[in-house]
């Protein structure tokens, strides 16, 4: 009876492009966000009104918080737009779900009966795009900070092998260096795996939470529609904010980590 699908369903098609319910609402929400933010930014007053006050507090608070993570205002200024957009967009699209009566609205089309609304963050393609863009930006930051060779060297670490061979030519045999070399190589590969797993852990954490919330809400609503869904709804409310926070802050932390030099790199720069 319950129609639960991982993928969002298409509401209608524009020139063969399936416009799913989540995609549709994502576009609308984006436009709304833009309108509200630009409107507030255009009509900034020294003595703020209620809406400006809320946004000011939100932006300034987030900026200061991000600053405390990155530790430099220059970095924060560069990373903040992406991170804060992630946060505000995820939070708003998670909270929009709490407008009552949404799941009652459905649309009839070739695919059958399709709910008009669906939590935007339960669309994996959107989360995947957000995650992958964050990870790609992180890699770009890492390359620009460590240089292309430094970046590759982090994953394929053969420094100790080189030392070992150098010493071997000089007639010294040091097996400890060889062991260190293998360890570094292994750790480098683990780092590579770590980078890839970032994408999976980050995106499925958010997707899983929101999608699970959707499903649970639906199931509980079908089991017993009075009172019983309330605790789950409250839990979902908590999840909505916490997951947005976790997602954006983790992305920020990844970027910050990539933008920081390690001890030996700093030493190298100084000696050069």
């Amino acid at each position: 009876m319950l129609d639960i699908s991982l993928a969002p369903k298409a509401l209608f098609y524009i020139a063969g492009f399936p416009v799913s319910n989540t995609f549709f609402w994502m576009v609308i929400l984006s436009i709304l966000l833009m309108i509200v933010f630009i409107w507030v930014a255009r009509s900034m007053k020294s003595v703020p009104g209620p809406l400006q006050n809320i946004l000011e507090t939100l932006i300034e608070g987030s900026f200061n918080f991000a600053n405390s993570i990155t530790g430099s205002e220059k970095k924060t200024r560069k990373m903040f737009p992406f991170i804060f957009t992630l946060f505000i967009f995820i939070v708003v699209s998670n909270l929009v779900v709490y407008f009552p009566g949404q799941s009652a609205l459905t649309i009839e089309n070739a695919g059958g009966t399709i709910p008009l609304f669906r939590a935007i963050m339960s669309d994996y393609s959107l989360i995947f795009v957000m995650t992958i863009s964050g990870v790609i930006v992180t890699q770009i930051i890492a390359i620009s900070v460590h240089g292309p060779f430094g970046y590759i060297g982090k994953f394929i670490n053969i420094k100790e092998f080189k030392n070992f061979i150098k010493l071997l030519f000089k007639g010294k045999f040091k097996p400890s260096l060889l062991a260190q070399g293998f360890l570094d190589l292994f750790l480098g590969i683990m780092d590579l795996v770590g980078e890839v797993s970032k994408i999976i852990s980050l995106s499925f954490r958010l997707f899983g939470n929101i999608f699970a919330g959707e499903v649970i809400a639906l199931v509980v609503l079908n089991l017993f529609p009075f009172i019983l869904p309330l605790p789950f709804k409250f839990l979902g409310l908590l999840t909505a904010v916490v997951q947005a926070f976790v997602f954006s802050v983790l992305t920020l932390i990844y970027m910050t980590l990539a933008s920081e030099m390690e001890g030996d790199e700093i030493a190298e720069k100084v000696t050069i």
Binding site: S5, L6, A7, P8, F17, P18, S20, F23, M26, V27, S30, L33, M34, F37, I38, V40, A41, R42, M44, S46, L55, E56, I59, E60, F63, R77, F80, P81, F82, F84, T85, I88, F89, D123, Y124, S125, L126, F128, V129, M130, S133
Partner: protein, 164 residues
């Protein structure tokens, strides 16, 4: 592939989502975050400046107050000193003037006395001389003789002396 399909991952949709999200980030960055953050920074600086200025003004006020009090105190002290000095000076001058005047008066009195004495002497001398002549003349008339001798003159003189 099956997993991708189940999750609804489709290249077109992904590209569309990416474009949408990029537009959202760009527009918010350009037209919302930057102006708002700049505005907030400006305002924070303005407020900081205002607070600082107010503090500075307060400090200056305090300083001016203290200085004012000091100046007033100094002025009072100086005024008192000047008044005291003037009093002393005045007293001294007064005493001096009185002394001078006394002295002068004394001198004048002495001078006058001297003058009077001299005049008196002169007058007496003149009178004596005239009297003597008068007496001689009258005696001449009375006796009708000329008394020229030394003896006579002596007598006359004696008489005059006794007349005195």
């Amino acid at each position: 592939m099956k997993l991708f399909n189940a999750l609804g991952l489709n290249l077109y949709i992904l590209i569309a989502q990416l474009v949408n999200f990029a537009i959202l980030v760009f527009v918010l960055y350009k037209f919302a975050y930057n102006p708002i953050l700049d505005f907030l920074k400006d305002r924070r600086e303005k407020i900081e400046k205002g607070v600082l200025n107010a503090k500075k003004a307060d400090e200056k006020m305090e300083e001016v107050k203290i200085k004012e009090e000091e100046i007033l105190k100094e002025a009072k002290k100086k005024g008192r000193e000047i008044a005291e000095l003037a009093k002393q000076e005045g007293e001294k001058k007064r005493k001096k003037i009185i002394e001078n005047t006394k002295e002068e008066i004394g001198q004048i009195i002495n001078q006058e006395k001297e003058k009077m004495r001299a005049e008196k002497g002169e007058t007496l001398k003149q009178a004596k001389k005239e009297i003597a002549e008068l007496v001689t003349l009258s005696l001449e008339k009375v006796l009708d003789i000329k008394m020229d001798s030394e003896e006579d003159k002596k007598i006359i003189q004696k008489t005059i002396k006794s007349l005195k």
